[in-house]
């Protein structure tokens, strides 16, 4: 009898332990915005095996590409989302946080928890002012891995040969452009087929003339009255002046240049400057050797409200959808990936600026680092217009802005048409 009891006890213990022994390790499903060959994808492929080895959590990553939110849409709807998704903060916010429903997991407690390096909280690693720009009702739902800003990248050698310094003011900028033009060298390289590259000019001009928040205010003003304010016309005049309709400081054919022809041409000494996102060095790095990179922010305007210490913060980050099966494990991955060592590796692999403020700074962005260190205010890319008034941006602004930027309408026509179309647009809602 005793033997049978012992046998039963052993069997029951074995039965209790068996499921744990046979249980599969947790597999985290991660839908990624990058495609397989991109440097960011390489960084993830490098760090994921280490995360798996250290935590026993498996990561099943799919490199979906920029359409990642579209691709996971039906899964979000059926409450079967991946555990982790990444994209730029504006797109994540618009897709998951902009409506009445909140479709992401609140990361407030996670940010207050200890970081991977055990030298503070996860939040301590970030500039929280940037994260809070994308908060909803005071709660943070997205954690960044990459910081991007926009400004002029320039060829230091060409500037040196032309005897020109990086311009700080708009007047300096025009003088530099004139110097290059007089030497027969195109000043600005640009891909005009990308409307959001074209839009950089008017958006930045408004930021410098009127300060952050005004462009968004005008874009969402259903009466159109905001467009009567002189600052908007002044900004339009700045854009027109450098356009083909004005003094034409761009490389020939910029209005028809298909991405990435214009930026490639610029990188190979075809032009002196290129106004672009900080992803630019990464995109053209294979085209030239020993190229000396430089960066200066969009020049300030005399008497303008915008200051050189106002900086755009465009962030790429992670979010955990509501309904994710393994949110705790997903947070563990974020804790690991945002560690200083992994942020440093991301800098080495991608040449991008890591969102971890303690991480090293990429050499190609050392000029950006100077402005970032002195920045006192951050604002959303395009002043938040692209993400907060997306249909106005696509249907009203893009077409008129392209015409202004290519110099086919005057600044006065631009203002009168944008006012008229804005009124029509909101009236039709």
């Amino acid at each position: 009898m005793k033997r049978i009891l012992v046998l039963l006890l052993v069997l029951s213990l074995f039965a209790a332990l068996l499921p744990a022994a046979l249980a599969e390790p947790v597999t985290l499903e991660y839908a990624c915005m990058f495609t397989e060959g991109e440097p960011n994808a390489q960084w993830l492929k490098d760090i994921i095996p280490e995360f798996e080895a250290q935590t026993g959590i498996k990561v099943d990553i799919t490199f979906v590409g920029r359409d990642v939110l579209t691709k996971i849409k039906s899964r979000v709807l059926t409450n079967d989302p991946p555990d982790l998704v990444d994209q730029d903060h504006s797109e994540l916010f618009a897709a998951f946080l902009s409506g009445d429903e909140t479709l992401l997991t609140d990361l407030g407690d996670f940010l207050k928890s200890e970081n991977w390096d055990k030298d503070g909280t996860v939040a301590d690693q970030f500039n929280m002012a940037m994260l809070e720009m994308y908060a909803k009702d005071g709660k943070v739902y997205i954690v960044p891995f990459s910081f991007i800003t926009s400004g002029f990248f320039y060829n230091k050698n060409m500037f040196k040969e032309a005897g020109v310094e990086a311009p700080a003011t708009w007047a300096d900028f025009l003088a530099a452009a004139e110097t290059f033009k007089s030497k027969g060298i195109p000043f600005i390289g640009h891909d005009g087929q990308i409307s959001f590259y074209n839009a950089y000019y008017y958006y930045w001009a408004v930021q410098r003339v009127m300060g952050a928040g005004n462009f968004l205010r005008a874009a969402t003003d259903a009466t159109g009255a905001a467009w009567d304010e002189p600052g908007f016309l002044e900004a339009a005049k700045m854009v027109f002046e450098i356009s083909k309709g004005g003094k034409d400081y761009f490389a020939k054919g910029y209005e028809g240049s298909a991405y990435p022809a214009g930026q490639s041409d610029w990188a190979m000494d075809g032009a002196a400057v290129n106004l672009n996102g900080a992803w630019l060095p990464n995109e053209v790095r294979d085209l030239v050797e020993n190229w000396d990179w430089g960066f200066f922010p969009f020049p300030v305007v005399e008497g303008g409200q915008g200051k050189v210490t106002d900086m755009e913060a465009y962030l790429l980050g992670w979010a955990i959808p509501q309904g994710a099966k393994h949110p705790a494990e997903a947070m563990e991955f974020l804790r690991f990936a945002t560690s200083r060592a992994n942020a440093d590796r991301s800098v080495d692999t991608t040449l991008n600026i890591a969102s971890n403020k303690l991480a090293k700074f990429p050499d190609v962005h050392k000029d950006v680092g100077i402005y970032l260190a002195n920045a006192t205010n951050f604002h959303l890319s395009y002043d938040g217009v692209m993400s907060k008034a997306p249909q106005w941006w696509a249907d009203v602004f893009y077409d008129l802005d392209n015409k202004l930027f290519f110099g086919t309408i005057t600044p006065e026509d631009f203002i009168s048409q944008i006012k008229e179309k804005t009124i029509e647009f909101y009236k039709n809602k």
Partner: protein, 303 residues
């Protein structure tokens, strides 16, 4: 016995065989189509389960949507009519030549058909190289021929639509040429020879013999073009490298519908409104198919 020739006992078997395909068709096509009408009555981002009923609000908004009508709709009509006229003119010309006893006819047929099998993304990249302002094939050739006055920035906003249309014509002509060629090949040679013997000229033979005798196939080809032209998407969308909302010159109904539903960096995400655009596309296609079938409704020659 019924005209079908089926006995009553055989009917269940017929239903049994029809059922799988009918079920798939209803589930995969009829139901989503009807569902689209339903969705068009809601304001919905596509991400949430909650949909706000707006009745015909999306259609009312669409009627007043200046960009939709003045850019997307007009470009669609231009592709349909101008593009269609060019494609069919070239296709008739080529099929006329290729239906003769030309040497190397099969190779020419293959070359003509080749652009049709290419991915629209590859075509967009290829043609944007051809149109490149400085080192593109087109401007370089014009320069070589001493025709500098014809050199243009082909992808500048004022020329963009025309440039894309040329690529669309290049991509599609081969397909319609092969269809027409197959139709022309089945016309009995003696009919054409008799017409020539009776004194008919080339144009008379073309309009009075060949066209009437391939009317049924021509109607099919035109219907296919009408559908393809309205839903043309890949080439236009890929033109901006797929990284941005295409410029006005590369926007038609299908592109507009896609970016309204799914955004493209610009986070529009209006699934309900985009579905209303889809309904307009459906109605346009239905109208075109109806008009084509009416125009070609006549006795079909049997030979």
């Amino acid at each position: 016995m019924k005209p079908s020739g089926l006995r009553r006992s055989e009917r269940p078997m017929v239903w049994l065989f029809l059922f799988p395909m009918t079920a798939i068709y209803v589930l995969m096509f009829i139901f989503p189509s009807l569902r689209a009408f339903y969705i068009s009555l809601f304001d919905w981002s596509g991400f949430t389960a909650s949909m706000r009923y707006v009745g015909l609000g999306n259609f009312r908004e669409l009627l007043g949507d200046d960009y939709f009508w003045s850019v997307a709709f007009v470009n669609t009509l231009k592709i349909l009519f101008i593009g269609g006229a060019i494609i069919f003119a070239i296709a008739f010309l080529l099929s006329g030549v290729l239906s003769t006893n030309l040497r190397g006819k099969k190779i020419f047929r293959a070359i003509t058909f080749f652009p049709t099998v290419l991915s629209p993304i590859a075509v967009a990249i290829l043609w944007s190289f051809i149109y490149n302002d400085r080192w593109g094939l087109l401007n370089s050739t014009l320069k070589l021929l001493g025709q500098e006055r014809l050199i243009l920035t082909w992808m500048a906003p004022e020329h963009l639509f025309g440039s894309i249309l040329a690529a669309l014509v290049w991509m599609n002509t081969g397909f319609y040429c092969i269809i027409l060629l197959a139709a022309l090949d089945r016309i009995p040679q003696q009919t054409i020879e008799s017409a020539y013997l009776d004194g008919a000229g080339e144009m008379q033979v073309f309009w009075r013999i060949k066209i009437p005798m391939i009317k049924d196939i021509l109607a099919t080809a035109l219907t296919l073009w009408a559908i393809n032209a309205v839903k043309e998407f890949g080439l236009l969308f890929a033109w901006a490298g797929g990284v941005d909302i295409p410029a006005a010159g590369a926007t038609n109904l299908a592109v507009k519908m896609y970016v309204t539903a799914f955004g493209r960096r610009v986070t529009v995400y209006r699934m309900g409104y985009a579905t209303a655009m889809g309904i307009v596309m459906f109605l346009l296609v239905a109208l075109l198919v109806f008009l084509i079938s009416r125009a070609f409704r006549s006795e079909v020659f049997e030979y």
